[in-house]
Point group: C2
Chain length 395, copies 2
């Protein structure tokens, strides 16, 4: 297992407080016409957008903009691609949360095409995207999805025939990821908390994935170490602390790199099914189900006996890391697995992560959710009744 | 320091025994005309080249080949680029040691140009390469330079006006790095030992570099952990052990990734100057100077007082890692620095790394070497007399 792996390329990363300013040097590398994909309001409210627009004008770089106020739908991506397809766009710049970064990624990939993104979505369309795209610079303003480092864009169609599916190709990894923790400083607790839980879920799920490899393991542990204290403190006394915000931004970036290479598990299986059926933020689904899903995975791994040992050891390593331990040679697996569970339970409470019920989900929905839930790269097989048990605890 | 960094993209990595075969799936992604850059003899002697040529014919992919039997010179690269410039080449595939991988990288970058590579070499020419190249697949057959993951190709002109300088651009990072430890199994001790010392030097120098960042630190530690035992065993009883060879190949790959992002130190400063003046394998220069250079760096860092603490801690972490320790919280810095030095001294002896004198270098050459030696990203300033002291010990 250790020594047979693939690792997709990662974007060129520019990380540091105040480094948003470097986009004006990057854009001309691709040309003189930029298309900005930005969020619904916060960038404009903060005055940051005016600052960007003024600087673009001063530098005489022409640009257009599109606002994305929710998780991107096929209709949104198609309309944007159609509008700008015949205009000259040399580079797409996405500045915002995960939805915006994904929208920008999808638009950059659909500009060179002539049909709907639906044709290229996994499990929806029957065409394979060839990776041709307009160069893309991703600038996250939340620390959550890690989409600035991944090769997929998640597209959502809500409702009964709804879905939450990916447009995916190795070449869709952004050309540049510019991560400026200053942009996250104004992020409120209601967003910071579920985003942080999403990023941590990604680190944990990729670390315990059967597809993990030595590189993803090293980077996942590195991300977990940075996030373990900041996940709570950035929602409390350190919301304006640039070092704590940088730690979260770094953890989120690592989570994107590792998920792109090792995949995810059952929590993101749920995020995909529940996210297609209900209007609920992605981070809330992940955050609310993380502790219970981890408990179930550990229980099922314990039942496996010898076969479950590697998975349990990995959970224990995460428990030890969160507990400040860095040496894992003679580790008490059961002890640190229970520390991990205890800590995840605490985080869920301390961060006031919503229950599913708040978004109208009831026990009557469980069967239709489970029917649409895939296990992804979960470290152990779970039966429908296991999934049901997880969901019931968080309705 | 922790949270302000750049990280260049890394190649798509395909790692595992027997995975050389995947090149036949990769090449058609770029087109139907491949140019192979291979070594002088060992690939042909082993029958591996016939196997590759036969498979290419069976798959009806047309190809040409160039042999590179020494460290690439401007004349070699220019001649190859000129010969194939007007033929259709869709992808360059370099299979060999560091010299071959660098030659292939340079040729892929010079095919779209019309002049000599000398114009683009750092410190030699006055043009900046723009990064346009023919796609490049790198397949190392030694575990040494890590060039399969770097953005530069080292070009050598021997003699009095000689140099060892880089063609460098972010976009020169190979598109794919295919690392098949089976290809290294036949590598003799005389090559394995200096290559291993080169790779370890790169991991160590990048780890202690002032330009190191959390990602390079995580990957450097990861590489050191894999190499710490295999560096000796692959030169002895485990020369044919695929797991030990894989550990070395992995360490070498990590060394390339981290050096591309954190830079190198004084040992590679010497490698550049000595390598331009004398006909001596790169790995021998690194291997023979590593222990003495590390002693000098540690001595100078100790003299610095507080300012030298971070550097010393990093050396101590490496000493601890080599000694099997993984927790560095309450580390005895002086103790583990001396363990590191002791271990490097032992490796140099156990691996019978040649002294410089064997290649005709005498004390009379020291001044001209020092004059051409840059410190690169060494963790501490060294004076000419420090450099002299290092060299004298290894003449």
């Amino acid at each position: 297992m250790l020594f047979d792996f693939n690792f997709a390329s990662i974007p060129h990363i520019i990380f540091g407080a105040g480094r948003l300013n470097e986009i004006y040097g990057l854009i001309p590398k691709f040309g003189n016409n930029a298309l900005y994909v930005i969020g619904g309001s916060s960038l404009k409210k903060s005055g940051k957008w005016d600052e960007i627009a003024n600087t673009m004008q001063k530098k005489a770089i022409s640009f257009s903009e599109i606002s994305v106020s929710k998780e991107p739908t096929p209709a949104l991506v198609d309309a944007a691609a159609q509008k700008f397809r015949n205009q000259k766009v040399d580079v797409v710049v996405g500045i915002g949360g995960g939805s915006v970064i994904d929208a920008g990624k999808a638009i950059s990939a659909m500009l060179p095409k002539n049909d709907s993104i639906k044709n290229y979505l996994e499990g929806v369309g029957n065409k394979a995207h060839d990776g041709r795209k307009i160069p893309y610079i991703a600038v996250p303003t939340t620390s959550g999805t890690g989409s600035e480092a991944t090769k997929n864009a998640v597209i959502t169609e809500l409702g009964i025939g709804g879905f939450k599916k990916s447009l995916r190709h190795d070449n869709l990894i952004p050309n540049y990821a510019v991560i400026d923790p200053q942009l996250v400083l104004s992020c409120p607790k209601s967003v910071t908390a579920p985003c942080g839980m999403d990023a941590f879920t990604q680190l944990l799920e990729a670390f315990v994935s059967p597809k993990s490899n030595p590189i993803t393991d090293a980077l996942a542990k590195n991300g977990i170490k940075q996030m373990k204290n900041a996940i709570i403190s950035t929602c409390n006394d350190k919301a304006l602390d640039i070092t704590a915000r940088a730690a979260m931004a770094y953890g989120s970036l690592m989570s994107g790199i590792v998920l792109a290479n090792a995949g995810l598990g059952i929590v993101h299986g749920f995020a995909s099914s529940i996210g297609g059926l209900f209007n609920i933020p992605h981070g809330v689904v992940c955050g609310t189900l993380l502790a219970e899903s981890t408990k179930m995975n550990i229980k099922r791994l314990e039942h496996l006996g010898t076969e479950g040992k590697i998975g349990l050891l990995k959970y224990a390593i995460v428990g030890a890391l969160i507990n400040g331990k860095e040496s894992f040679e003679e580790i008490n697996v059961a002890h640190y697995c229970s520390i991990l569970i205890e800590r995840l339970d605490n985080w869920t409470k301390q961060l006031n992560i919503d229950r599913l019920g708040k978004y109208g989900i009831t026990t009557a929905d469980i069967d239709s959710i489970i029917e649409k839930t895939g296990l992804k790269n979960n470290p152990v097989h779970l039966k429908p009744e296991d999934l049901k048990e997880i969901l019931i605890k968080r309705i």
